[in-house]
């Protein structure tokens, strides 16, 4: 981050009443950050259309929340809205985009695809099951596709998170006020394992059987 924000705590803290000052500066910085998000124009599939409706259509109009300056270059953007499915071929590019973005950067995963693979969770051999396997995600917005209203709720949540989240004392460390609790007796690893079992089970196709079955259709297909 910037030279000023890096050095500011060191200068301010020793002063009398310094820590109060740091908190005040934090608030000011977070407030301005939360109200001037610059999203990257990035959309891979269906959800991108609803994002367009959310940003462009006069009924919804993202400009009300100070986030309408969509930038096509990642270097000028600080909000990455993952709108759409991420497949294996796109994953490294997504990572590159994320790394090129200016600090501090925020990520919203909109749509079931970006959360867990959505409709392509089972039986698809290419989709990444959730964008958070590649980059850290701050806010998830469920839906297939999420309505513009849902997207705005996510955006407001992100703004709330930014306002309460970071301090220049520990740059890069974020407090997340909105956390969903897991049911008792269950850990994240349990869920991961269960999902992996399911997925490997899904992918089992008996190739010999399938090929034998296919032989007679290929003959039929020839004169089609």
């Amino acid at each position: 981050m910037g030279v000023i924000t890096d050095n500011l705590p060191g200068v301010l803290e020793p002063l009398p009443g310094g820590s109060v000052l740091v908190t005040a500066v934090d608030q000011l910085i977070n407030w301005s950050r939360s109200n001037s998000l610059w999203p990257l124009t990035f959309g891979t599939s269906c959800c991108a259309i609803e994002m367009m409706m959310a940003t462009g259509a006069a009924r919804h109009d993202m400009a009300r929340f100070g986030a309408e300056v969509a930038r096509p270059s990642p270097r000028q953007a600080d909000l990455l809205v993952i709108a759409g499915t991420i497949v294996k071929r796109m994953a490294p590019r997504l990572r590159t985009l994320y790394e090129q973005m200016a600090e501090p950067r925020y990520v919203m995963a909109t749509g079931s695809c970006a959360i867990c693979g959505g409709p392509f969770m089972y039986h698809s051999y290419t989709t990444i099951r959730g964008a958070d396997e590649i980059i850290p995600v701050d806010v998830y917005v469920p839906g297939c596709p999420p309505r513009p209203e849902a997207f705005f709720y996510g955006l407001l949540t992100l703004q709330k998170m930014i306002r309460e989240g970071e301090s220049i004392r520990h740059p890069g460390e974020r407090r997340r006020p909105v956390l969903a609790a897991l049911p008792e007796g269950m850990t994240l690893d349990d869920i991961r394992k269960e999902m992996q079992d399911l997925l490997s089970h899904d992918a089992n196709v008996n190739m010999t059987e399938a090929a034998a079955e296919g032989a007679h259709y290929s003959a039929e297909l020839k004169d089609f």
Partner: protein, 386 residues
Amino acid sequence: MSVHVSTLQARISGESTASSPLSTEEYFVNMGPQHPSTHGVLRLVLRLDGETVREVVPVLGYIHRGIEKMGEHGNYRQFVHLVDRMDYLSALANNWAVTMVVEKAAKMETNDRIQAIRTLVCELQRIQSHQLWWGVFGMDLGAFTPFFYGLRDREQICDIFEKTIGARLTMNYIQPGGVMYDIHPDFVKDVKAFLTYFKSKMPEYDALMTENVIIQERLRGIGKLSAERAIALGATGPVLRASGVAHDLRKSEPYGLYSQVDFDVPVGTTGDCWDRYWVRMEEMRQSVRIVEQLIDNIPEGKTFLVKPAAKIKVPAGVHYSHVETARGVLGVLLVSNGKDAPYRIHCRTPNFNNLWCIGEMATGGRIGDLVATLSSIDIVVPDIDR
């Protein structure tokens, strides 16, 4: 027939084809996969000579989700919702393509009410799709206002769909054996209100873009595609019609209630960007005409003729049928082994062939015209990759 295949590497090391003595050294530019004008994650590799485009090579696969393979794992009803996600701007037409092939193969009955509802919602969605294209096309040319106007009017159709179907984008509405729900009691009233509203807005669209000298000068004569090449490349939809070929499945192989309504198929003459623009604008008017003729005459009857949970068995064999979506011909080839799940499904999607015309259109032109040309094809990338 021999197919000439050349790898990207061969092209890079190949001889310069520039004939002018002023030609400079050729170089490559990579456009995409993250680029605001590729409407998704399409990558184009451009071989340039100064400002002149020598070759455009699309590189695909950045949103390949394996939809065709996934279709083999579920039954026929479960495949319908997956095709929504291919060309999401014509989700209903995609539903219809799958429905049609299943109904034809399994000899399922429908009635006039079902067909009328299907035709109506598909035409409404064609208008909706062209509205979005119009807005985005304007934005790609550097005009921001059309984007607001197009999306403002698109919202109105979204509202109509939401009342009846419950979704704004991914519909999953047209099913083998009928449509998921009957139309909302307000449907007729809402559609009529929309038609009145939209007909008063079309002159606004024209004043803003169609009659605009800057737009006309910008689009005329660039990105030309001859009728012969369009047919050879397998282009369909507005791209083909703009080149002067009056091919529209709604006319040539009428399905639904298209044979009972009166509408024209707009065709262009030269196949340049302007023609493609004009054809789509005209298609919106024709769709309005179709909806007007049908909206007062929706017959009575049931809207679902099989039990929703009933298993559909398709006789063994190869089945095919196709529909005209907002972008061209979507064909679904189904190989069945007599069970309740397809053995193999293949979709012949319009955008795939239309995209390949970009090489023909852009080669020899200026790089400044490339974005206008690409946008005039109106591609949806997940439909290309599937």
